[in-house]
């Protein structure tokens, strides 16, 4: 069976997009992970600030700070903060669980980012509502490595 040139070129064009489709797959996985956390609830944009350097020298150890505007009282506090990646092999990065004992909802840690991507932070409040924020970053690769 011979394939005519037009079909072949179309096929090749689609095939060349496959790696790009893989990248989108992790955005979809990230969305899936967020949906799982939200369980049908909406997540309002605001109150959550995610700070990641816009340009990262090495994705193996990226300093990340997340803070949520909240009085952290019994009546109004953050219960959990989930950090989700859109460009990592696995979408979940870390989850923090707080109470009014924290005084402030501000945590700093160091994470791994496999590629340039948007990282999302979903905060769950004591009343069950969700707020979200995000940060995009460019991850460069190290020069002259082992292999």
């Amino acid at each position: 069976m011979t394939i005519d040139r037009r079909t072949f070129v179309m096929g090749a064009a689609v095939a060349s997009l496959l790696p790009a489709l893989n990248a989108f797959a992790t955005v979809a996985e990230g969305t899936q992970a967020v949906d799982k956390i939200l369980a049908g609830q909406p997540a309002k944009v605001g109150r959550v600030t995610l700070e990641i350097p816009p340009l990262v020298e090495n994705g193996n150890l990226v300093t990340m700070k997340v803070s949520v505007q909240s009085p952290m009282t019994e009546a109004d506090h953050v219960r959990a903060i989930h950090i989700v990646a859109e460009g990592n092999p696995l979408p979940n990065i870390v989850s923090f669980f707080l109470s009014p004992r924290a005084g402030r909802a501000a945590i700093t840690t160091r994470i791994r980012l496999g590629d340039s991507q948007r990282v999302r932070a979903i905060a769950q409040m004591n009343d069950g509502s969700f707020w979200q924020g995000d940060a995009a970053t460019l991850v460069t690769l190290a020069a002259c490595t082992e292999v």
Binding site: N60, N88, I93, F96, F97, A102, G103, T108, T109, R112
Partner: protein
């Protein structure tokens, strides 16, 4: 893997009641993500810390669930309110039965 796995905690020794304290904690652990390969192409199995909990006189005040995307030698900087004099305990647990605990005393005036 290191033979030792230390935790270094940085926090004040004294505080006023109601004051918000910053606690910095870093633990020695390679956090093998499970995505690395040896030179011969074999996958290095996942071996990470999964949980961190901070208790203040026995009451849990902060908890973390770690995934493979947490960096090696995990560092966490968090806050807690100085409520009373006592002991803060920092516990890590993870794959292959990893468990470590460190305590720190706090005097609250």
């Amino acid at each position: 893997m290191s033979k030792t796995s230390r935790t270094i905690v940085t926090m004040p020794a004294t505080a006023k009641k109601g004051e918000i304290l910053e606690i910095r904690i870093i633990v020695q652990h390679d956090m093998e993500s499970g995505f690395r390969h040896t030179e011969t192409g074999q996958r290095v199995p996942r071996d990470i810390i999964r949980d961190f909990a901070c208790t203040y006189n026995g009451v849990e005040v902060f908890r973390v669930e770690l995934h493979p995307a947490m960096g090696a030698n995990p560092l966490i900087i968090f806050t807690t309110v100085a409520t009373e004099t006592g002991t803060l305990e920092f516990k890590w647990s993870g794959d292959n039965g990893y468990a470590s605990s460190t305590t720190s005393t706090l005097t609250v005036t």
